[in-house]
């Protein structure tokens, strides 16, 4: 057994991508939804274990884990690389994907026609493979390939929604996503032209030299890549595709994408800005910090106000996601250790919190077939356990002290203070007041309105749905008190990213 582990260990970086890829192929050949679910679960469950093992090894040794494809060394071949940053995000994505698996079976069985269920799981695994690939690869073009794998599969996932509007939402996302990916690959092409390399680490070294002759091209490359990635992130004002995509996708797809897809795009942004170009080139020469801070603050406020007036819970949470993404890009824009720690911590915390909320909505849709406020009215007494979890996660979303959300806010505010932006501190706390209002409004609908006809017959969902929901709700509280797994690793990663490159 130990011998087997030892032989498998060095190959974990490739296995974490291969396993879901093979699983996806296998699932595509099945007919039964339950069998597809079983295979999908079996291929997802090892992933968080692999991610955690790799991250722990990186943190223990202080050295990144590098896996050379076909033993071709770094600048020539493609390498997969796990450092504190990618390890952290791998853990988040893999853990979320695994935790929500038990929920999938019944939710997918009711929302997806039976002949499409195995396709759905195949797409899900493919998307997961793409997301993990983006995070683990050390190669700019390989990242584009994985970006397309995850994007194409997620368009199809969204299009499988029951409502016909899901098609339009998927189409909208497809157009925007393709533009984003194209911009990114144009940037990569420019980088390759000027430096002759695609490896992230190698690029970082060669950029300094190339900068002397090809300054304008490099800046153009940076611009293309940042705008392209920000489209995938859905940073305001490039966000218009997201609310419809989240609202009309099948519940399980929304849950998965909300917790992981935008997070991975955020990872890619951090990688490009901090590891490839570096703080000195990006922040000292371009007003990228100001632009990110202003757009982030705009997202925090405009999206939150939209969330307040939204009457569909899924769309409300989608707008809330846009606002929360604003927090993360704010931390990236601040570009100091506290700010970046806040951004990274919030990638994990928001993934946990938002996944919990979308799971709860998935359970609501499973029971009453709708996530509209008028149908959810009075659900508090009919689905008390589900709604209890909504309240807990809602508190996390508000950033109540004692929940994970507070930790993010704490670091972000410290980052703003470090940057000398006291006004931003007040904007952060003021925007979380808006989240109090939209969470409060949902709570009022759930607990104080007269039960709707649909709510009258509802009851809490089966255990397979409640357990993942409560795992995440408990994590919302736990990560508010014990931040060794989140803030500590995030701070390590942020230290490397900011400290290592301002030399």
């Amino acid at each position: 057994m130990i011998a087997m582990l030892e032989s498998v260990g060095p190959h974990l970086p490739i296995l974490i991508v291969i396993i879901p890829l093979l699983g996806s192929l296998l699932v595509a050949f099945t007919r039964s939804g339950n069998l597809a679910w079983l295979i999908a679960s079996l291929s997802v469950l090892p992933l968080p274990v692999a991610a955690v093992l790799m991250t722990m090894s990186v943190l223990r040794t202080g050295q990144p884990l590098v896996y050379e494809m076909g033993n071709w060394p770094a600048p020539y071949g493609i390498v997969y690389k796990v450092d504190a940053l990618s390890g952290f995000v791998l853990c988040v994505v893999a853990a979320i994907a695994a935790v929500i698996m038990p929920f999938a079976r019944k939710s997918v069985a009711t929302e997806i026609p039976s002949h499409q269920q195995s396709w759905f799981y195949a797409l899900y695994l493919l998307c997961l493979c793409g997301l993990l690939g983006i995070v683990i690869t050390g190669d700019a073009f390989n990242a584009f390939v994985f970006l397309e794998i995850s994007s194409l599969s997620s368009y199809a996932l969204i299009a499988l929604g029951r409502h016909r509007r899901a098609l339009l939402a998927a189409y909208q996302y497809l157009i925007m996503g393709t533009i984003g990916a194209t911009l990114y690959v144009i940037g990569v092409g420019l980088l390759y032209l000027t430096t002759g390399s695609l490896n992230f680490d190698d690029l970082a070294v060669r950029l300094a030299e190339a900068d002397k002759t090809y300054h304008a091209s490099l800046m153009a490359a940076l611009g293309f890549m940042v705008v392209g990635i920000c489209l995938k992130i859905a940073l305001f004002p490039l966000h218009v595709w997201l609310p419809n995509a989240y609202a009309y996708a099948p519940s399980f797809a929304t849950t998965f994408l909300a917790g992981t897809a935008t997070k991975v795009a955020l990872y890619l942004l951090i990688r490009v800005l901090f590891s490839v170009f570096g703080v000195a080139m990006v922040y000292d020469r371009l007003p990228i910090s100001d632009v990110l801070v202003v757009l982030s603050v705009a997202a925090m406020f405009i999206a939150s106000v939209s969330a307040i007036f939204e009457n569909n819970a899924k769309r409300m949470l989608a707008y809330s996601s846009l606002a929360q993404i604003g927090y993360i890009t704010l931390g990236i824009g601040l570009a100091n250790i506290h700010g970046l720690t806040g951004a990274l911590v919030h990638i994990a915390n928001h993934a946990v919190i938002k996944t919990a909320l979308f799971l709860a909505l998935g359970a609501v849709v499973y029971r009453i077939g709708s996530a509209h406020y008028s149908d959810m009215a009075g659900l508090g007494r009919r689905m008390p356990l589900t709604m209890g979890a909504v309240v807990i996660a809602g508190l996390g979303l508000m950033g109540t002290p004692g929940t994970a959300g507070f930790i993010s806010k704490w670091y972000l505010a410290l980052g703003a203070i470090d940057a000398g932006l006291w006004s931003v501190v007040f904007l952060i706390v003021a925007s979380s007041l808006l989240s109090v209002i939209y969470v409060g409004r949902l709570t009022e609908v759930i607990f104080f309105r007269e039960p709707s006809p649909r709510a009258m017959a509802a009851r809490d969902p089966p255990l397979s749905m409640l357990v993942p929901l409560y795992v995440l709700a408990a994590a919302t509280i736990y990560l508010g008190f014990d931040t060794r797994a989140t803030a500590e690793i995030a701070a390590t990663a942020a230290g490397f990213l900011v400290g290592g490159l301002t030399r």
Binding site: A413, V436, E444, F448
Partner: protein, 500 residues
């Protein structure tokens, strides 16, 4: 009890209300068992906190570290005299309030009583955590949990009015705490490098007087529970809640948590000397003084009994803030004592108001003609509570004012003196008429009662648990005047700790 270490008692005080909150839902089907759990927990908690009293006076300062959230940011607890005083008030009044609640909730056939008792227990739990918090971070968590756990209580009735009040309550309290209190904590952390409550403060020499004044403003208005104008709206709005909840808000935990936090921040974060030396806190005397007077003037115009009491609370709370703002040891003692004195008196007044509502279904002062003859116990207790509000002996209300006056005269703060005098006159003019009205008309005769059945005037006292509760608190109000040893000794111990 001596066999228990102070550390154990501290842990027990923090845990007991949570145990109650977890146990109460199990007894949902058996109301008597459920209420027994509440009473048992309240009794146990009071025993535990009172057992801490001799130890703390003897110099024990038990500590407990729960978790390190971020390096330097701990969830930790430490018992000091001021916190113990607040804990004693909250835990003791929890017993009385529970007895009263049982009478009130059953007599008025309130729905969702299990939820009520659970939320109540959680509120007490957070009050304990707040009282014993070792640093601002822990206090902030407890402060927010207190707001959140009382929200379902404020909206207990579930009607449109209650929901609206709940919105005001939540947005104003969470809003001020997030937008002002949290930045204040952040600034303290950045400037002082710690959030621990430390005798003498942690900000001395760290920031200039202007920033010090600004920070104080963030704290005073950020701690919205202290209801310093203009962040007082939530308190009158919350009057829609059942009376036991009003008692919780006004006496047991919520507003007391507010003024306690302000006092604690002034004494243990700023340091009395640091503030007095920089004159950065001078403005607070005027703000608190204005609140004292303005709230009294508003109270004067209220016909709704609970609303009048609510504005009276706003006014009385600012006594505490005023006393703290005077920045002398003796006035700080006054502030601490007034927390206790106002608590027992105000809970008496609310109990009486609730008893009147339960027995006579009356809410307006203009309806109370002659009610004193029908409800002699209730209205006598109400009279005692009123005297305490005015600040007359022999009631607890006199003590706080006495120390406050002494402090302001010592430092020649004549504005404060004028405020106290003027507000005493105002208090008298909105409390005495109620008592006069209640006992003005002749006692009802048998014939009257027989003829006025349809008016609903044939009531006597409220159910006995309510009368018992309000009699006990009225007795406490008087008792504290004659035997103020407990609050006085704790307040003095606080000063001894700060100014050795």
């Amino acid at each position: 009890m001596t066999s228990f270490t102070p550390e154990f008692l501290l842990a027990a005080a923090l845990v007991i209300p949570w145990i109650a909150a977890a146990t109460i839902p199990l007894a949902h089907a058996a109301p008597n068992v459920r209420e027994a759990v509440t009473l048992l927990a309240a009794g146990a908690l009071a025993v535990v906190t009172w057992s801490l009293y001799p130890a703390v006076l003897a110099g024990a300062r038990p500590e407990l570290q729960l978790a390190q959230v971020v390096p330097g940011l701990d969830v930790a607890f430490r018992v000091e005299p001021l916190g113990l005083l607040f804990a004693l008030v909250a835990s003791t009044l929890w017993i009385v309030n529970s007895i009263y609640s049982i009478g009130y909730m059953r007599a008025n056939e309130e729905p969702r009583q299990t939820q009520f008792y659970v939320c109540f227990a959680v509120a007490i739990a957070s009050a304990m955590a707040l009282a014993f918090s070792k640093n601002l971070f822990t206090l902030f968590i407890a402060y927010e949990v207190l707001t959140l756990s009382t929200y379902p209580l404020v909206t207990h009735k579930g009607n449109a009015e209650a929901i609206k009040a709940g919105r005001v309550y939540l947005v104003l309290l969470i809003g001020t705490s997030m937008v002002l209190f949290l930045p204040a904590i952040l600034a303290t952390w950045v400037y002082a490098g710690t959030l621990d409550f430390t005798a003498g403060g942690i900000l001395a020499g760290k920031i200039g007087p202007l920033a010090l004044g600004g920070l104080l403003a963030l704290f005073v208005f950020g701690i919205g529970k202290a209801a310093v104008m203009p962040v007082h709206f939530w308190l009158p709005a919350a009057m829609v809640a059942p009376t036991p909840v009003s008692a919780l808000l006004h006496a047991v935990a919520v507003v007391k948590a507010g003024v306690f936090s302000i006092l604690k921040v002034i004494v243990y974060i700023f340091g009395i000397d640091t503030l007095a030396g920089s004159s950065a806190g001078d403005w607070l005397v005027y703000v608190a003084g204005t609140t004292v007077l303005a709230a009294s003037v508003v109270a004067l115009r209220q016909d709704n009994l609970k609303k009048r009491l609510a504005y009276s609370t706003v006014s009385q709370l600012s006594y505490v803030v005023l006393a703290a703002a005077i920045l002398t040891p003796i006035s700080a003692i006054g502030a601490a004592i007034h927390i206790a004195g106002h608590a027992v008196a105000k809970i008496t007044l609310f109990f009486a108001a609730g008893a009147i509502y339960t027995a006579a279904h009356k809410t307006e002062i203009s309806e109370l003609d002659g009610i004193g003859w029908r409800m002699p116990w209730t209205m006598t207790a109400f009279a005692i509570g009123s005297l305490a509000m005015i600040g007359l002996p022999p009631t607890a209300g006199f003590l706080g004012k006495w120390f406050l006056l002494q402090g302001s005269m010592q430092t020649e703060q004549w504005v404060a003196v004028a405020v106290v005098v003027a507000s005493t006159i105002l208090n008298a003019s909105y409390f005495l008429p109620i008592i006069v009205r209640a006992f003005s008309t002749a006692p009802p005769t048998e014939a009257d009662t027989a003829g006025t059945h349809h008016h609903g005037d044939d009531h006597g006292e409220a159910p006995w648990p309510m009368v018992l509760a309000l009699s006990v608190t009225a007795a406490m109000t008087v008792l504290m005047f004659f035997a103020p040893d407990v609050p006085l000794s704790l307040a003095k111990a606080m000063i001894a700790e700060v100014k050795p």
